[in-house]
Amino acid sequence: MVALNWLRGLLAHRPTRVIATALGVAVGVALIASIGTFLSSTNAKMTQRAIARVAVDWQVEAQPGASPATLLATVGSYPGVRQALPVQFTSSPSLTATTRGSTQTTGAARVLGLPPGYSSAFPGELRLLTGSLGGVMVAQQTASNLHVAPGDTVTVGLPGGKSAHVTVGGVVDLPYSDSLFQKVGAPPGAQLSAPPDNVILLPQSEFARIEAPVIAKRPELISTQIHTTLSHALASSPSAAFDDVAARAHNLESRLTGGGLVGDNLGAALDTARKDALYAQILFLFLGVPGAILAGLVTALIASAGADRRRRDAALLRTRGASTRTLVRIAMAETLFAGILGVAVGLGAALLIGKSSFGTASFGAGAVSAILWAVGAALVGLVIAAISIALPALRDARSLTVAGQRKQIGRTERGPLWARYGLDFIALAIAGFVYWQASQGGYQLVLAPEGVAQVSVNWYALLAPVLGWIGLGLLGYRIADWVLTRGRKPLTGALRPLAGELAPTVSATMSRQRRLLARAVALVALTAAFAGSTSVFNSTYQAQAEVDARLSNGADVTVTESPGISVGAQQGITQLKKIPGVGSVEPLQHRFAYIGADLQDLYGVRPQTITDQGKLQNGWFAGGTAADLMKILARQPDAILVSQETVKDYQLHPGDRINLRLQNGATKQLTTVPFRYEGIAKEFPTAPKDSFFVANQAYVAARTGSDAVGSFLVQTDGTSPGAVSKRISGVLGASALVSDIQNQRHVIGSNLTAVELSGLTQIELAFALVLAAAATGLALGLGFQERRRTFAIASALGAKRRQLGGFVWGESIFVTGGGLILGAAIATLLSKTLVDVLTGVFDPPPDFLTIPWLYLAGVAVAVLATVLAAGLITLRALRRPAIEELRDL
């Protein structure tokens, strides 16, 4: 009852202290609950994206001796299977076509027989480039090799020297050729086989007609797969969805009793997604937990500002006969009230943030997860309230003496316990060791051994950044403390322009309050580091996502000539530059070249312009920067850059001569062109990941008698790439395939692409800004508030406003300057560590950290504004007659 009455009185007469604490609690709760919402939204989107990226959910391959018809019936009737269609596969020794007076013959080709309705049942598998779907179709590269277009005839070689003629109806791209031509049932960890260079797709009836002799005499050369689509009513968490799909695939295999093996494309996509989901959770740890801890520290700081008053209240109650138990009850009542109010406001704010940023108002992926997140966030809020109010009150209640109130100031000869034991150095040493050890193995944070159902986090590796954060925070305190103790003389010198002859007095004051000031410096440093490292990580991530998208798409807009269309470099540049919004146009020659028996992509570049206009990154090359290697191509036209894999496979050394076979533009025959290996290209715009060449465009044109280019890399003049892409498509029609980087960003590999992360980081950055500003302003403002009596006495002794300003601004500059400098140093270390630790998020790894100067300037301005406000409010309060101030205290 006493506790309730006390609480009522507190709210009526001193509501600020309770409300301020509740707001601090609310910030921590909102941050954690928002991250729950982020994970909920991210998990669901990752599952959806994984599903959307799969063209055929299962490819069930009939095993030798099994009846394809029985297999189709079993798979078709399996629960959850929505569609099941049989596809036949066989091989042809070669494909031949004679067009415009020349005959081209390919190497071995794959021949597929597709049932009616295949393209509409699996729309992602075939992408029509020209002609129509449904008839005979050839893959884009095959069409290029054979120089065929719709209407041309292709001769399909058959085993035994026979052949059959088909008429091409369309040219298609096979975006999922890796999975389409996978080796079903390959053991986990087996090397992926490269998709075939030549593919022809026939309607089932046509396949049956031309392959009839093979079916009759060599049926073992024909294989059948049942391509299926499953019901996508799956759990929203990628991990749960993966478990479900993988278990069903195994169940189906057991039902087939050896008659078929399941190629689980959906399971493989979900497997990748669940690893990314785990990364998302680690991102939460790195980006969220420090924010929540800082919110707790700021709250404790707010609460500690009222600690003296609370102690005096408690002393007064004790003189009126209140027992320790009553004092504890009062403290608990205040804690519960501030905690519950803070939790309610925090959860409400998180719902609003979730709704506006992620489009979801749930704290977790499922009902149980949502409850756990909400309860977890609430518990954190109550813990913050307890640490801020109840704990100090309980401590005081046990040892409440007048002398006990005379704290904060003093000689404090001995440092804090952790400092005496060097806990900061120990933490940093362990962090350094773990970092070094984990870096040796490429910093694998998410462990997902092949063939093991469970993915897990390498918690040991996480010790490096966690202990680094703690160690650097404590070291910040130690450095500030050291400067105030040992650096009195230089500090006095630094303060002299501000405080004049009072400088020794001001530095003495600061030195004797060094615990208070060192705590403030450490808090400002940690909040600044939180804002800095979060924003640098975010910017680097965004920049890298941009690079990733640029690498995949080639440029802002990439224009690829349709099969059968050939435009010269200058003609293409002239035509494209006329289109509004186009800034620069860089022609990129695309050919196919044989190295030995291997066919690889060859990109011919203009070395003088490609570095800038293709926005080449140094990280894409080895053996020199992008500019260095392009200079070599310019100086030495027969120089060639080769992929790492080719260098390894062919044991190449710099300067080695390589003879490639390329098609001659006039004769259409393969001709040998000599090159000299001079460097490694790991990645290149529009190039495939595995193997390719980069050479001098003019040299290739001269040696092949053709200046034809494959595509044009278009950079816009600032106009949206999507808009420019539409304009180019409008002008070029079906003669070219136009793709833009905006669209590409949504398609590229990682699930952790900008959409979800940008939502999280916007929240993080907003919280970081608020925390940095609040921590600095409060640390100083509340410190000044505690020393109002000191300032009032100094004023009564005759100190002028300018002289009082020496005390106020001296402390402000020390805390803010020290905090920001230490914060910048900590942020730099943390950002580098974050990028290294989360290297799995980046593909390829960034060349350098991207610094968001605008945001950081915003944080600095916000911090300085609160410092200025705290100082001015303090000085303004001292305008009152000193005696009034002293009377009120």
């Binding site: 005379r406 100031i409 003093g410 000689r411 002859e501 009072l502 400088a503 020794p504 007095t505 003495a508 004051t509 004797r512 309050q513 000191t790 006495i793 100094a794 009564a796 002794l797 005759g798 100190a799 002028k800 002289q803 007659p881 000193a882 005696i883 009034e884 002293l886």
Partner: protein, 229 residues
């Protein structure tokens, strides 16, 4: 009668705290003057207006009605540091500064160099027998010692007028007596005027003049001695 201009002059000076129904009159319209060399005890019970009058004399507060002036000193801005020193009722040393730094603070504020300020402060402490406390922090000395240090701080600038607000109020009799001894000796030595507010008749009895105060007014009969100088 006093010669020359008064150090402080109150003309109809009154002080009211708050407004309207809650307004409290702390000091009624008061006329008084303090001249060089005078040593006065403002005597009266708690709430009689002693501290308020002292604060007005010190220029630490403004009268609501009437005026306070310092004809022999100048404007209010010229009172401190140096010309008028105040000894406060409660603890008034700055906690983060040592005793020496506390005493030298008003001197440095007044324009002395830090080194000179320390020298003068050390001398003032020596005069009051407090030199051994120079390097101690306020929390490391007793209440009586702290009040004597506050006196030393007031005297270090050799002020013309010392105003002490209940300087013995929170001290035991022995410590209180020591503080009064110091104040009297110092004012005698420097020729400063001294005004001590107190409710302790023993303290008041040690000063040659006593102004009795009651309900915010100086009682005429007890002030006659002052006017008769």
């Amino acid at each position: 009668m006093n010669e020359g201009l008064p150090l402080v002059r109150c003309e109809g000076a009154a002080r009211t705290y708050g407004e309207g129904a809650t307004a409290t009159v702390a000091l009624q319209a008061t006329d008084c003057e303090v001249f060089a060399g005078q040593r006065i005890a403002l005597v009266g019970p708690s709430g009689s207006g002693k501290s308020t009058l002292l604060h007005l004399m010190a220029g630490l507060d403004d009268p609501t009605v009437g005026t306070v002036s310092w004809p022999a000193i100048g404007t209010r801005d010229e009172l401190r540091p140096g010309r008028v020193a105040v000894v406060f009722q409660g603890p008034s040393l700055l906690p983060p500064l040592t005793v020496l730094e506390n005493v030298s603070l008003p001197l440095v504020i007044g324009g002395m160099t830090d080194a000179d300020g320390r020298e003068v402060a050390r001398s003032a402490l020596r005069t009051l027998g407090l030199e051994e406390l120079a390097d101690k922090l306020p929390e490391e000395i007793s209440g009586g010692q702290a009040q004597r240090v506050a006196v030393a701080r007031a005297l270090a600038g050799e002020p013309s007028l010392i105003l002490a607000d209940e300087p013995t109020g929170q001290l035991d009799r022995t410590s209180g007596a020591a503080v009064v001894d110091v104040l009297l000796a110092a004012s005698e030595h420097a020729g400063s005027a001294l005004v001590i507010s107190t409710h302790d008749q023993t303290v008041a009895a040690r000063l040659p003049e006593r102004w009795g105060m009651h309900s915010g007014e100086i009682q005429t009969d007890t002030r006659e001695t002052a006017w008769s100088h």
